[in-house]
């Protein structure tokens, strides 16, 4: 029995064994070693890769911030004394980090680019990387996909996803002591025995509805989700301590700790985190210095946590079974605009860290004009006979790194798997 199973049986199943038979059965089989966990960190608004991930030289074609190219092993990064947290991150975790450059999103609209980078598709009704990995690798957990940030796409796996709210108000649903009062009156707090009665009542309805009009198709799925959601909610209550108190999810360090806790305690398989910065620097690109600093400080905390905390298998660490993706939906124009900002650009870079990846190097490339360069999909190196890496190719690679078959979710797409170990 691995750690997750131990925690699960000691916690949720112990309290709610009667109420959650299906989830508990599904949990019985240990996941294959490559069925990884995933933490997504989204820098919404469009970051400028020239600040760290994609070193460039100042020229008539491109404006870059202060700094220079620095090698961390085989990984070149753009660093500067004004961005010490960036340097500190790569000093500590560069060997566990891959940079994928030159990802084409083929749009300069935030909404479009977010869904393309998150889902690898053009539709917001499709599930994003986190929802897919959560469903395929950890659907037996109470809340397989924990959405701490703001934007996420659960698609058809909505029943497996859950949000904590802007101020972590989910705790008001989990902990009676922190429940909201209306006009000074507290809600009814049900006992386990009463919950069992209510669940049995719901079960009877589900069976009746299933027989009458929910035998198949959309209706059946809604009935299944309805019943499964009750079990998941009960299991969440059993691990409520991991959610802390209201207000915890407001900052990126707070989200990092919550995500680490949720994964470690077997609450979730995947977590979506937001940097909480608006990277859309149309008016002053220099503000991205501060965004990079705060983000990389949090990423150092995240990676330190993954290295320090116990993993799924005895004696292992979370870093061995958890993949981390840090991405932004688009990049910024090569040149500053008249106001000193940079506008939207349909090419971006991303970081992939942790389990399942070939760390300490970069794959993909951009040209001197920040165009997405053609690359060889096997080596990830620039190649005149190669192809441009699109958001779909990238997402497919992430899914592969996490032990998920991309073709089951994205169709017969090509996988950019050069960074996958």
């Amino acid at each position: 029995m691995n750690r997750r199973q131990l925690l699960t049986y000691a916690g949720a199943a112990g309290l709610f064994g009667v109420l959650a038979p299906r989830l508990r059965v599904a949990r019985a089989a240990p996941a294959p070693a490559n069925k990884r966990r995933l933490i997504l960190v989204m820098a919404r608004g469009g970051w400028d890769p020239t600040f760290a991930l994609d070193p460039k030289t100042q020229s008539t074609m491109i404006d870059v911030p202060a700094g220079s190219r620095q090698l961390f092993g085989n990984l070149p990064v753009f660093t500067d004394a004004s961005r010490p947290n960036v340097t500190a991150y790569f000093n500590a975790h560069g060997a566990r980090t891959t940079i994928v450059r030159g990802i084409s999103v083929a749009s300069v609209s935030h909404i479009e680019c977010v869904k393309r980078m998150a889902t690898g598709t053009r539709s917001e009704t499709n599930a994003d990387m986190g929802a897919i990995v959560a469903h395929d690798n950890g659907n037996e957990l109470p809340m397989p996909y924990l959405i701490l940030g703001d934007t996420a796409f659960a698609g058809k796996y909505a029943v497996s996803a859950g949000r904590v709210g802007n101020t972590n108000q989910i705790i008001a649903l989990l902990d009676p002591a922190q429940a909201y009062q209306t006009d000074g009156r507290a809600p009814v707090v049900t006992t386990d025995a009463e919950d069992a009665l209510i669940a049995a009542y719901a079960d009877a309805t589900v069976e009746r509805e299933r027989a009458v009009r929910g035998a198949n198709g959309y209706n059946k799925a809604r009935l299944d989700d309805f019943r499964e959601a009750i079990d998941r909610g009960k299991q969440l209550k059993s691990v409520r301590a991991g959610f802390g108190s209201r207000g915890r999810a407001l900052t990126i360090p707070g989200q990092v700790q919550l995500a680490l806790d949720a994964l470690q305690q077997g609450i979730s398989q995947c977590a979506m985190i937001s940097t909480r910065f608006s990277w859309d620097s149309h008016e002053d690109i220099t503000e991205q210095t501060g965004f990079h600093e705060d983000t990389f400080a949090a990423l150092t905390g995240l990676m330190d946590g993954l290295v320090a905390r116990p993993g799924l298998m005895t004696g292992s660490r979370m870093i061995e079974d958890t993949t981390v993706i840090v991405f932004s939906e688009m990049g910024r124009t090569p040149k500053r605009n008249a106001g000193g900002g940079k506008d939207h650009w349909p090419v971006t870079s991303a970081m992939v860290m942790g389990a399942g990846i070939r760390g300490g190097r970069a794959f993909g490339a951009t040209t001197d004009k920040m165009e997405a360069a053609a690359v060889d999909f096997q080596t990830g190196a620039p190649s005149a006979s190669g192809r441009v890496v699109t958001s779909t190719h990238f997402v497919a690679g992430v899914l592969k790194a996490c032990g998920v078959d991309p073709s089951l979710h994205l169709g017969p797409t090509e996988v950019f798997g050069a960074f996958v170990a």
Partner: protein, 571 residues
């Protein structure tokens, strides 16, 4: 012929679970030609419940259920009454917010709070200022003005807060909305003339209102420029506004979209609120701000260099734009599709084209009456589908709809008189947050956790249950049960809201069963006898709960179970 076959296939099933039909129950000519032959329809009372919840967000009364049970043809008249109810007005606002995305609590994009608002709360300000376009649409629809008025009307709705923000006159109680006809020279273009729309959809400096233009195109014409792929020509110096301005006109890779997008944006530069907003945020000035700036009509000359134009058709000023939108056949079609999509929870792109075409025709022929359109939707075969007996096609047939958070809030309030709120101690720039509706907010509330949208980060609803929506439903039910049972336990019989057939403390089986039958009718929309199997099941729940506690406690458990039941949360 297919309809005939359909009737043959399902006729054996409909006695208990549904019914077939060759014509909409309201007598409308609303054939569901695109429906599979194996579809089964709701019973008339189930159809009534769905119509009531879709249009109003509340369950039908027992009287209405009985009327339809006795005569299915009564449904049309009842729907007409629903369309005149304030709850339908609330639904109209909900429907349009899904498109205009006004109800957001994302602080960086909200109007700066200043000393002007000392006597208000953030909840009050949000519920007023950002609702202005939605209230105008509600006013137009509820007074059955032509729906085209939403882009051509010469007035808006103003309360005390809106008056303070934009400097409009307002008399009477601050929380009462009154019509105000603009006097600052702004063209009459309905919601396009409401300044708050442009504050919500603020345009970045060099974007020149293109985002706003796409909002208008997407919202009113269902034409979304953003769905196109782009290939940036990197030979262009994107840092030079002049070069960019020329490229979007002359460069083929840019002009494909910009030749129609930019002229649309050129209409929208007459509300230049960047500077006053910045001054407000920095404490350099106070409200009121804004006002129509006629000089903005020529601002395109110094920005995108595209004269105002509506998809290649000349139209003068903002009112010309509104009229051009209203006259565009895409407007009627888009409206029909959006109403059908919202009221059925079918994704916009998946709504049957044939059905939309029928609805569009009816809509136009009835002088753009949104009420007639909504009526046609809910009386259509497509609306009253229950399920599909063919597993091959059942995935594509949406036969159950999940309550949205707004509907859950209204349903609970209608059933119990309880509004799920909580006071927050938070404040934003010294303005207290106030008492939040827990199903209608994101800072303290659970709107998104129950599958709703926050109108900024989350713009797609979730129409199924998950862990958090289940927990929210349970919490709302627990709070409502606590309230109503305690209330009715001490209220005089005539003042009881829900316990009309039995006192809360009674254990008499006949009385308890009668009360349970009443609850089934009110909460599930099921007219069942007190000795029916359905009531048996709920009675068993009552007795089991009462055995461990008191009748009062047992009723609370019964109500929680019923309010969180599939039959309550789905329709």
């Amino acid at each position: 012929m297919r309809r005939f076959v359909s009737s043959l296939v399902v006729v054996g099933l409909v006695g208990v679970i549904g019914c077939t039909g060759t014509i909409g129950p309201g007598g409308d000519d609303t054939h569901g030609d695109d429906l599979p032959a194996t579809v089964v329809f709701l019973t008339p009372t189930q159809h009534l419940s769905r119509a009531s919840l879709a249009l109003r967000g509340v369950r039908p009364s027992i009287e209405d259920l009985k009327a339809v049970e006795a005569d299915p043809d009564a449904l049309g008249g009842i729907v007409d009454r629903y369309l005149d109810s304030p709850e339908f007005g609330a639904t109209i606002k909900d429907l349009h917010n899904d498109t205009l995305l006004m109800r957001m609590e994302y602080q960086p994009l909200q109007l700066p709070l200043t000393a002007t608002f000392t006597n208000h709360t953030v909840v009050e300000i949000n519920g007023s200022a950002y609702e202005e376009p939605l209230r105008l649409i509600e006013d137009i629809v509820m007074h059955d003005q032509p729906y085209t008025q939403i882009v051509t009307a010469d007035y808006t709705l103003v309360d005390g807060i809106i008056a303070q923000i934009w400097g409009f006159p307002h008399s009477g109680p601050a929380n009462v909305f009154t019509r105000y006809h603009w006097t600052d020279g702004r063209p009459s273009a309905g919601v396009l003339s409401t300044e708050v729309l442009y504050h919500r959809w603020i345009s970045a400096g060099a974007n020149y209102s293109r985002g706003r233009a796409n909002l208008i195109s997407r919202a009113f014409l269902c034409h979304d420029f953003l769905h196109s792929d782009i290939v940036v020509d990197t030979s262009i110096d994107l840092s030079d506004p002049e070069v960019v301005s020329n490229a979007v006109v002359a460069n083929p890779s840019c002009a494909g979209c910009h030749q129609t997008l930019d002229p649309l944006a050129s209409y929208l530069m007459t509300f230049a609120n960047h500077q006053p907003i910045a001054q407000l945020a920095q404490g350099q000035r106070d409200y009121p701000i804004g006002g129509y700036d006629p000089l903005g009509e020529n601002r395109y000359r110094g920005t995108n260099h595209r004269p105002p134009m509506f998809f290649g058709v000349p139209a003068t000023k903002l009112d010309g734009l509104g009229k051009a939108i209203a006259d565009d056949p895409r407007f009627a079609r888009c409206t029909a599709a959006r109403f059908a999509s919202y009221l059925t929870e079918v994704p916009l792109d998946d709504v049957s084209g044939a059905w939309v075409a029928r609805l569009q025709k009816l809509f136009v022929e009835n002088n753009f009456s949104a009420k007639k359109l909504a009526r046609a939707v809910v009386l259509s075969d497509e609306f009253r589908v229950s399920h599909d007996t063919n597993p091959e096609t059942a995935d594509r047939l949406i036969g159950t709809q999940k309550l949205r958070p707004e509907q859950l809030s209204r349903m609970i309030r209608d059933l119990t008189g309880f509004r799920w709120t909580t006071p927050s101690g938070a404040s934003i720039r010294s303005v207290p947050y106030g008492t939040g509706d827990l199903l209608d907010g994101d800072l303290v509330g659970f709107r998104v956790l129950f599958g709703g949208i926050d109108s900024y980060f989350v713009t797609e609803r979730v129409h199924t249950m998950n862990a958090t929506s289940s927990l929210v439903a349970k919490a709302a039910a627990s709070a409502a049960a606590e309230y109503i049972v305690e209330h009715d336990a001490v209220a005089a019989a005539a003042d009881r809201k829900l316990f009309t057939a039995a006192a809360v403390g009674t254990t008499d089986e006949t009385a308890v069963r009668a009360q349970i039958a009443y609850l089934h009718a009110r909460i599930f929309g099921d007219l069942v006898a007190a000795d029916s199997a359905d009531v048996d099941q709920t009675y068993q729940l009552f007795t089991a709960a009462a055995a461990a506690s008191t009748p009062k406690r047992a009723w609370k458990i019964v109500l929680i179970a019923m309010l969180t039941d599939f039959r309550s949360l789905f329709y």
